[in-house]
C-alpha cells in the first residue's frame, strides 16, 4: 500500500462524516482508504493530456422542466417515516444557526 492515511486524517474525516469510530474501526478505515487512493493512483499512469475533463457520464445536456406547479399536499407522505413529529414538522434536537 503506497498511500498511508494518518491518524489526523482519519480523525478529520470522521468529524466531517459525523462518525465516531473505535480504534479498531479507525485502523480498518485507514487501510481501506489507503487502498482506495492506491486504486485511484492507477489513473495517474494514463496520459490524459489533451483530453477534455468529463463533467457527466451521459452524453446528454439540457434536461428541463417547465415552471408549472403540481399542488398536492405532500406533508403526509413527507412525514410518513419520520422518527418524531411535532406541530406538523420533523422534530429534531434544538438547533440554532
Amino acid at each position: 500500500m503506497a498511500n498511508r492515511i494518518s491518524d489526523d486524517t482519519i480523525e478529520y474525516v470522521g468529524i466531517l462524516a459525523k462518525l465516531e469510530l473505535t480504534p479498531q474501526e479507525k485502523e480498518r478505515a485507514k487501510k481501506d482508504m489507503g487502498e482506495m487512493l492506491d486504486y485511484i493512483d492507477k489513473l495517474n499512469e494514463l496520459d490524459v493530456s489533451g483530453v477534455e475533463p468529463m463533467s457527466h457520464v451521459f452524453p446528454v445536456n439540457n434536461v428541463f422542466r417547465e415552471d408549472i406547479p403540481t399542488d398536492n399536499d405532500g406533508s403526509k407522505d413527507a412525514l410518513f417515516n419520520a422518527p418524531s413529529v411535532k406541530n406538523g414538522g420533523f422534530e429534531v434536537p434544538k438547533t440554532i444557526g
Binding site: V63, E66, S75, G89, E91, K94
Partner: protein, 479 residues
C-alpha cells in the same frame, strides 16, 4: 487611531427567484402553505428521487447576468456542497462551484462623493434554498419545515471593490432595483427574499495586500448592514492596533445588540468537499437562447431615468424618485398612458403619495390604488369638476381604498360650484358677517381678501371655484 485604514468589502447576495415552482421539483414556492405541504420526495431528499432542473431558473439567472454585464457560461453544471444540518435533508446543497452560469460582470454605482465607480461581479450561480427550522418555545427541540427547501436562489458574488457602507448600500440598491425590474425576484430584505453576507477586511491605507477577512451573516436591513460594517471595521482595527490577529471566520450579527459573534466551532470544519452532481446533466447555452433572453429584457432603471427626462420632460430629481421603485415607475407609466399628463401624474406621486406613504409608514410596494383611478382624478381636476383642495381629499380615498373618483365625487356631492349666482350670494353673506375685514381691505390692507376667500370656501364646504370667488369678491369690494 494613529494610522489610516481602508475597509475592503465584497458581498455575497442571495436572491430568491420568482418562479412558481422549486428549482428541481414541481412543488409550489408559494408562501403561507401549511407546514411541509409544499414538499415531495425530491425536496425532502428521499433516496432514489431525481432532481429535474426548472428552465425558468436558468432564464432568470441569465437575465440577471446580462443586466449586470456578465459573460454567460455556455456549458455549466451543478455541484454538491456537502454538510450536515437539519434544514438540509440531502446532507448536501445543490449549487454551482466549478462552472457558475455567469462570470466577470459589474455594475456602476454612484459614490458618496458624487463620482461613479464599477463594482465587479465575480460570478452568479444557481442553487437551492434550505428548509426552515422553527424553534419550539416550550420544548428543547426544533421543528423542520421543508416548504422552502429547494426554492431557487441565485448567489451574486461581488469582487472586493467596495470601501464604505455607503458604497455597499448603493450597490445593493442598484442590484435590487434591477432584479425587481427584471421580475426575477421581489428582493425583500426583511422577508428574506434578498440576503446579503458581507466579507470585510481592513488594511493600512495604501497597502497592496488585503487583510484577513471575516464573513458577516444575518443582515436583514440596509440599516443593519451599515451598522455591521462600521462595527466590524472598528473591531478589526482594534485587533490590529493592539497587536492581535484577525481570524478568518463567519460571524453572526445581532442588530438589537449591535454586536457580532463568531458562529462556528472547530467541530464544524468548513470543508464542503464539492463534487459534480451526477443526478443532473450539464446545461448547454446557445447563442440563440442568450439572444432570446436578451430580447425579453424589460427597460432597466438607468434607461428609464434617461427616458423620463427626455420623453416627458421631468426634472432629473423627479425622474430619479419615480424610477427609484418599480411600483412608482409602473403606476407613473400606466396613469400617464391613460390621461396623457405625465407632469401631473408625477406630481401626485411625488407629493401626495409620498406624504401618505410616510404618514402610514408604508413602502411604495404597499401601494394598492390603481393607475386608472389616479388618471381619472387628474382629469376631474383638469376639467374643473373638483378643485385642488377637494382633489386632495378624494385622493386620500383613492389611496386608502382605491375608490372610483368619479362616483365618489358624485356620491359625496364634492363637485365644484361654478354657479356665479350661488357664489355671489355666499360672498355677500360672508362680507356681511365680516365687516372688519371688508373695512381693512378698503383701507388698503390687501391681505384681508385672503381671509374672506377662506371664509367663503369654508361656507361652500371647499367646493367653490377659488378663482371665481376671488373675482366676485374683488368686484364687490371695489364697489
Amino acid at each position: 487611531m494613529s494610522k489610516e485604514y481602508e475597509t475592503v468589502i465584497g458581498l455575497e447576495v442571495h436572491v430568491e427567484l420568482a418562479t412558481k415552482t422549486k428549482i428541481f421539483c414541481s412543488c409550489s414556492t408559494a408562501f403561507g402553505g401549511a407546514i411541509n405541504a409544499h414538499t415531495c420526495p425530491v425536496c425532502t431528499g428521499m433516496p432514489g428521487s431525481l432532481p429535474v432542473l426548472n428552465k425558468q431558473v436558468v432564464e432568470y439567472a441569465m437575465a440577471v447576468g446580462l443586466a449586470t454585464n456578465c459573460e454567460i457560461t455556455r456549458y455549466c453544471k451543478f455541484d454538491r456542497k456537502n454538510y450536515f444540518y437539519p434544514d438540509n435533508p440531502q446532507n448536501y446543497q445543490i449549487s454551482q462551484l466549478y462552472l457558475p452560469i455567469c462570470r466577470n460582470g459589474g455594475i456602476e454605482i454612484e459614490t458618496e462623493k458624487g463620482g461613479k465607480k464599477t463594482v465587479g461581479i465575480h460570478e452568479i450561480h444557481m442553487e437551492e434554498d434550505a428548509g426552515k427550522l422553527v424553534h419550539d418555545e416550550d420544548g428543547d427541540v426544533s421543528v423542520v419545515d421543508f416548504n422552502r427547501s429547494g426554492v431557487p436562489l441565485i448567489e451574486i458574488v461581488s469582487e472586493p471593490d467596495m470601501r464604505s457602507p455607503e458604497e455597499v448600500i448603493a450597490y445593493l440598491d442598484k442590484l435590487r432595483l434591477m432584479i425587481q425590474y427584471l421580475g426575477a425576484s421581489d428582493c425583500k430584505l426583511q422577508e428574506g427574499s434578498m440576503r446579503a453576507d458581507v466579507n470585510l477586511s481592513v488594511r493600512e491605507a495604501g497597502a497592496k495586500e488585503f487583510g484577513t477577512r471575516t464573513e458577516m451573516k444575518n443582515l436583514n436591513s440596509f440599516r443593519a448592514i451599515a451598522r455591521a460594517i462600521e462595527n466590524e471595521t472598528n473591531r478589526q482595527i482594534d485587533l490590529i492596533e493592539s497587536g492581535e490577529k484577525v481570524i478568518q471566520e463567519t460571524r453572526r450579527w445581532d442588530d438589537s445588540k449591535a454586536y457580532s459573534y463568531a458562529m462556528r466551532s472547530k467541530e464544524d470544519a468548513q470543508d464542503y468537499r464539492y463534487f459534480p452532481d451526477p443526478d443532473l446533466v450539464p446545461v448547454s447555452i446557445s447563442d440563440e437562447w442568450i439572444e432570446s433572453v436578451r430580447a425579453k429584457q424589460p427597460e432597466l432603471p438607468t434607461e428609464k431615468l434617461a427616458r423620463y427626462q427626455s420623453e416627458y420632460g421631468l426634472p432629473e430629481y423627479d425622474a430619479q424618485i419615480l424610477t427609484g421603485t418599480k411600483k412608482f415607475a409602473d403606476i407613473f407609466e400606466a396613469a400617464t398612458e391613460i390621461c396623457k399628463k405625465p407632469k401631473k401624474v408625477s406630481n401626485w406621486l411625488m407629493v401626495e403619495t409620498i406624504r401618505l406613504l410616510k404618514e402610514n409608514a408604508m413602502d411604495a410596494e404597499d401601494i394598492r390604488f390603481s393607475p386608472g383611478n389616479l388618471a381619472k382624478l387628474i382629469d376631474l381636476t383638469d376639467n374643473g369638476t373638483v378643485n385642488s383642495t377637494v382633489a386632495k381629499e378624494v385622493f386620500e380615498a383613492v389611496f386608502k381604498e382605491d375608490i372610483d373618483p368619479e362616483k365618489y365625487v358624485e356620491e359625496k356631492g364634492l363637485k365644484t360650484v361654478h354657479d356665479a349666482g350661488a357664489l355671489r350670494e355666499t360672498v355677500e353673506t360672508v362680507m356681511k358677517n365680516n365687516p372688519k375685514s371688508v373695512e381693512d381691505y378698503k383701507n388698503g390692507k390687501e391681505k384681508a381678501i385672503g381671509f374672506l376667500v377662506g371664509q367663503t370656501m369654508k361656507a361652500m364646504k371647499g367646493k367653490a371655484n377659488p378663482e371665481m370667488v376671488n373675482e366676485i369678491l374683488k368686484k364687490l369690494l371695489s364697489k
